[in-house]
Symmetry: C2
């Protein structure tokens, strides 16, 4: 499997010269994590933004009834963090778990702050990534209020086609906010 | 009533010199709108970011069962827009209505783009405003999944203490995602 390159992903957003990257990427860390490992725990301050080079992460939380809810899946080439906890340096509302053996890049709080001031287009990068996080949360709200389970299912299939083969189905049911029985029915209709 | 000044609000975020503002504020428009007026309609592309100098706006949408849902209230000194529609220039998911006679400032798409490139800290302003929008949506999701009706009620009271005297209660019940009867009960307990 080809590893997704964070430099390529960042330069899809802004112009970063190779000289800038040579300097900046020194601050980047690589993390190899095992399937099922919790890499960030709800309640702790989130001090990293993860970039998924390989594998799949699950972002989840405990709801007001004490049930675990899967909120988001971060697949190859995308970022994962509790961005509010990270930006405000406050206790996190979400946990992050590896659903497969993963290879991640990790950007620290200091690296992001350094980027704002030292990359020529650092603030622009920060703006575009904040906008993407905003779009992600905006999508979640639309999914809750205005989409049917079938529409949510189709959106997930479009976003990560391989996901139904990669992880236990109860995570997908939780993400779609439906029962496992309902998910089986949707999958049968989809054949 | 004192009118809230947008320059003051923006300089709470970034440093804008008076010379910069003299130039930039030429692009700002003032809009006087009457109570009940719809200033932006779901389905249309949102081409303005509104700043509430005076009055109160309601952001709402139609959910998957065809019911109108009040999503957010924008009070004096805060911004209102369908930011995803605005940034992507796509049809909006939300409508915006004046709940009182309002005095607004309006920033066009061109004004925002001009700011990114021509204000010294334009990109930083864009980043901070995108982050605020993200925090707002993050709060909404937390309110849906992890807060009780009483906690949502208390948060609203803290954010806009005067709101219970200012607008019809059914908008507040819709915002809190509870029935009008339930809202009356919370208010009685609160006395």
């Amino acid at each position: 499997m080809i590893l997704v390159d964070i430099y390529k992903t960042l330069t899809d957003h802004i112009d970063i010269s190779e000289t800038e990257w040579k300097d900046y990427s020194q601050m980047l860390r690589t993390r190899i994590v095992r399937k099922k490992e919790i890499i960030h725990m709800q309640g702790n301050i989130c001090r990293e933004v993860f970039f998924v080079r390989k594998g799949l992460l699950r972002i989840f939380f405990i709801d007001c009834d004490g049930n675990e809810k899967t909120f988001h899946f971060a697949h190859e080439g995308t970022f994962a963090t509790d961005y509010e906890s990270f930006l405000k340096q406050i206790p996190a509302s979400y946990s992050i778990q590896a659903l497969e053996n993963c290879e991640l890049n990790s950007m620290s709080y200091e690296m992001i702050q350094y980027g704002y001031t030292n990359l020529r287009n650092g603030e622009k990068l920060g703006r575009l990534l904040a906008e993407e996080y905003f779009f992600l949360f905006s999508d979640k709200i639309r999914a809750i209020y205005t989409l049917t389970p079938l529409e949510r299912y189709n959106n997930l299939k479009k976003e990560i086609p391989s996901i139904f083969q990669r992880i236990p189905q109860h995570y997908i049911a939780s993400f779609l906010n439906i029962s496992s029985v309902h998910l089986s029915r949707l999958k049968k209709q989809d054949r």
